[in-house]
């Protein structure tokens, strides 16, 4: 990867992505070869929003590479609650760590943080913006199941606020992928993401019903529709119910359809899908470790040069 930071998926070229995924493949095949490789370095986990799997998988990935991790603890008890700016926080933390992983509720937070520090910054989610490390593990999962070319991918759920969707859609434009977006009218892709997809010449179509496209898909990427996006709860239940899948829904799907989800799921994928050959979301979550090991290895290696 040529960059010092990982801020958005739009910054990633096909070569960048393939380099990290090739490395992730090697890591997954022989994790012990990477053990202790970055001993003596420190990674700061700066999470201004709750996170379970992103935080834990970065922590695990770091430790498997011999990297020590530090974190800010609960935001409510940190200096942030005293009104410290993000710009100050990251400049202070840079003095403690060799790289920073940042999750923040504001869009553009990681872009700004990277302007204030020299150490590599990894965007682990900025509001409804981007989540590029999730995208790398999503792509790894797709690649290991189908390869990344001549592919039809459906992305369903909250496309407006879903940062994993924004990053994935942008990254897929590097490959020969037809993208279908399935969502309620009120949660369609935002103008900013549409802009990038058009600029990249993406092949995309939008639908309000999964049935319109399900049988064509190689991959179905499901995301959670959040209650707080709707003015009232009845409307939420009505809409969310239409974008829920179960084993029956998938009867019309291709036999080798891969169903993915960034997790956590609530009820958008029924538990009976877990027992089908389509379900890959736990495998996807587990891929977070080798992919983030590969990412950290790449960024820290580049930082040494």
């Amino acid at each position: 990867m040529r960059q010092d930071h990982l801020i958005t998926a739009t910054q990633l070229s096909r070569a960048d992505i393939e380099a990290v995924l090739d490395r992730a493949r090697k890591v997954a095949a022989d994790p012990s070869a990477y053990a202790g490789r970055h001993a003596g370095t420190v990674l700061a986990l700066c999470f201004f929003e709750p996170s379970t799997r992103t935080r834990m998988s970065f922590d695990t990935a770091a430790k498997r590479l011999g990297i020590d991790t530090i974190d800010m603890g609960d935001v409510a008890s940190s200096s942030v609650s005293k009104g410290e700016s993000l710009a100050d926080t990251v400049r202070v933390v840079e003095g403690y760590a060799d790289a920073l992983v940042l999750r923040h509720p504001s869009e553009g937070a990681a872009t700004m943080a990277a302007e204030f520090v020299d150490a590599p910054v990894i965007n682990a989610g900025d509001g409804a913006g981007q989540h590029p490390s999730q995208t790398l593990l999503d792509l790894h999962t797709i690649r290991e199941n189908h390869g990344l070319d001549d592919l039809t991918v459906g992305i369903m759920g909250d496309l407006k606020y879903g940062r994993t969707v924004h990053s994935l859609a942008a990254a897929l434009t590097n490959f020969d992928v037809r993208q279908h977006f399935v969502s309620p009218e009120s949660l369609r892709l935002p103008r900013s993401v549409r802009f990038d997809l058009h600029e990249a010449g993406a092949q995309l179509r939008e639908h309000t019903e999964l049935e319109a496209v399900l049988s064509e898909l190689d991959v179905l990427y499901v995301t959670r529709i959040q209650k707080e996006r709707f003015p009232d709860e009845n409307e939420y239940h009505r809409v969310a119910g239409e974008y829920r899948i179960d084993a029956d829904t998938l009867a019309d799907a291709a036999d080798d359809l891969t169903v993915m989800h960034p997790l956590p799921r609530v009820d958008e994928i029924a538990p009976d899908v877990d027992d089908t050959d389509h379900a890959r979301y736990f495998e996807q979550a587990h891929n977070g470790v080798p992919v983030r090991m590969a990412l950290l290895d790449t960024l820290l290696e580049a930082d040494d040069e």
């Binding site: 509720p105 869009e107 553009g108 872009t111 700004m112 302007e115 509001g127 900013s192 993401v193 802009f195």
Partner: protein, 152 residues
């Protein structure tokens, strides 16, 4: 325009912004941060007949010249504008505005959840794209509503 049609007086020293798209004069004043309270002598012509634009606005400001960032934003809402610097009643310089690649520090991001709206020590920065501008931080695209987000 002949003397008979002249609606606003000539100025001695200052700036004349001519060929502004009809109806945009007040936004031009907003970009310049002029609301009358600073005591500058300002003349505004709105919907004046123009060969080039059909109808145009003209803004004349005595004793005030434009900064480069003001000219940049001006170019977004008035791409046809000409900027005349007047010294001792004569046109000392005449410049067309050019569309910049980016504008910094003059527009606020319409996305309330953008980091630039969060009391951080950063200036806003927008890339100029074919039909508007785009926030460098949160990627929000701003099109027809640029004038409403001028923040100088």
């Amino acid at each position: 325009m002949n003397e008979h049609e002249l609606r606003v007086a000539k100025i001695r020293n200052g700036t004349v912004i001519d060929h502004v798209e009809g109806g945009q004069a007040l936004n031009v004043l907003a970009i310049l941060g002029i609301d009358g309270s600073e005591g500058l002598s300002v003349s505004v012509g709105m919907n004046v007949p123009s060969d080039r634009l059909g109808r145009k606005d003209v803004v004349k400001v005595e004793d005030r010249e434009l900064s480069p960032s003001e000219v940049d934003v001006l170019s977004l809402i008035a791409p046809e504008a000409t900027i005349n610097i007047i010294r001792e009643f004569d046109v000392a310089e005449k410049n067309r505005v050019t569309r910049p690649e980016r504008v910094a520090g003059v527009l606020s991001c319409p996305n309330r959840n953008c980091i630039t709206n969060a009391d951080e020590p950063v200036e806003t920065r927008f890339d100029v794209v074919p039909d508007g501008v785009r926030c460098d931080y949160c990627a929000t695209v701003l099109r027809s509503d640029i004038a409403a987000h001028i923040d100088v």
